[in-house]
Amino acid sequence: MLQSLSLVLLYTLGLLLLLLLLIKPTESFAPIFSSSCKSHSCLSSSSVSSSCVTTAAALSTLSAVAADNNSNDSNNSNNNSNDDDVAFAAAALQVADAAGKLRGQTIVVKYGGNAMTSPELKTGFCQDVAALQKIGVRVVVVHGGGPQISNMLEKVGVETRFEGGFRVSSTEVVEVAESKKVYLNLEERERETCCALIFLFYIIFTHHCNDKNTKFPSK
């Protein structure tokens, strides 16, 4: 009974380790982001599905033209094709106007960590940037990551606080914020350790079976 129990334990441990190695970063990443998903009123324009309308919204934000009415119009008038065409033409004109003004200009966008908490926000933002790039705007993105860094520091157990809007940064904080290549190398090393552990478990398991002349615990 004890023998079979220990075998089952070893077997499950091995399986667990195998599973750990098989987890891909993207898969474990998605739930982290979706769990902290919030609604962001200021970015709601990015979540409009049609890429054309998104571009219109993004451009009009940039050119400080209030296009809210316009994009609302084009959203509400889906029933009537004529109205739809008129709204589309108006939006296209506005886009062309804004694009003409902005072509060749440089725009710096700071993408805050609070605005990248859900995958939808992120895709919307990236589509907007790509769209601006296509019409010839020179876009520079500077990204934050405050909430992500705070999360990480909390996990590591490093205390962090803000003074006058600035994070008080010890060397650990800077290291986590930068997440240097060192960590990548370390991850590889950990992976190797896990492989070695699985191999070890496998050896113990087979040795155990051979010793007692039993392949699997029957009772």
Partner: protein
């Protein structure tokens, strides 16, 4: 078992650290061209330690110089640079990494590039007054007044100051 724990820990670090690459790759998959760089690359953000009268902020960098050569070349080539706000030290401090506030970095880079506009994307509508109503426009004098009477606090201070 400690190894397994560490494995998870470092994995998370990698995920957090790859915010930069995630954004650049997402822009690429949306049909644009982007490259992820850090402020330490090509001495983009050259910093000194930020001194504050009241607190010791540690390795928070104050941006002294911005080397915009790389940014200009990338923009000329039609590539969007995605900058992570980590700065490098100057002269004998070359090896030190400084944590730079992203709002400050965006403001300084925009200034050096003579950008037409700077946009701040975050989860609130903008600068709010005491009654939590949006202030659509602000002058430079207003800003100092609002900071002094603590209407503008916390993370909004670097956003409006950009220095």
């Amino acid at each position: 078992m400690r190894n397994i724990f560490n494995f998870f820990f470092f994995k998370t670090v990698v995920l957090c650290g790859s915010v930069n690459k995630e954004i650049s790759s997402a822009i690429c998959s949306a049909g644009g061209r982007a490259i992820g760089i850090s402020g330490r690359d090509d001495s983009l953000l050259q910093c000194i330690k930020q001194h504050d009268d009241k607190f010791d902020l540690g390795f928070v960098g104050q941006v002294q110089n911005v080397n915009t050569n790389l940014l200009q070349q990338l923009l000329d080539a039609g590539i969007c640079p995605v900058v992570s706000p980590i700065g490098t030290g100057i002269n004998e401090e070359k090896n030190i990494a400084y944590n730079v506030n992203a709002d400050v970095a965006a403001g300084r880079i925009a200034g050096e590039l003579k950008a037409a506009r700077v946009l701040f994307l975050t989860d609130i509508a903008g600068v709010l007054d005491k009654q939590m109503e949006l202030l659509p426009t602000l002058s430079v004098e207003d800003i100092q007044k609002l900071i002094d009477d603590e209407t503008i606090t916390g993370g909004m201070i670097p956003k409006v100051r950009c220095n």
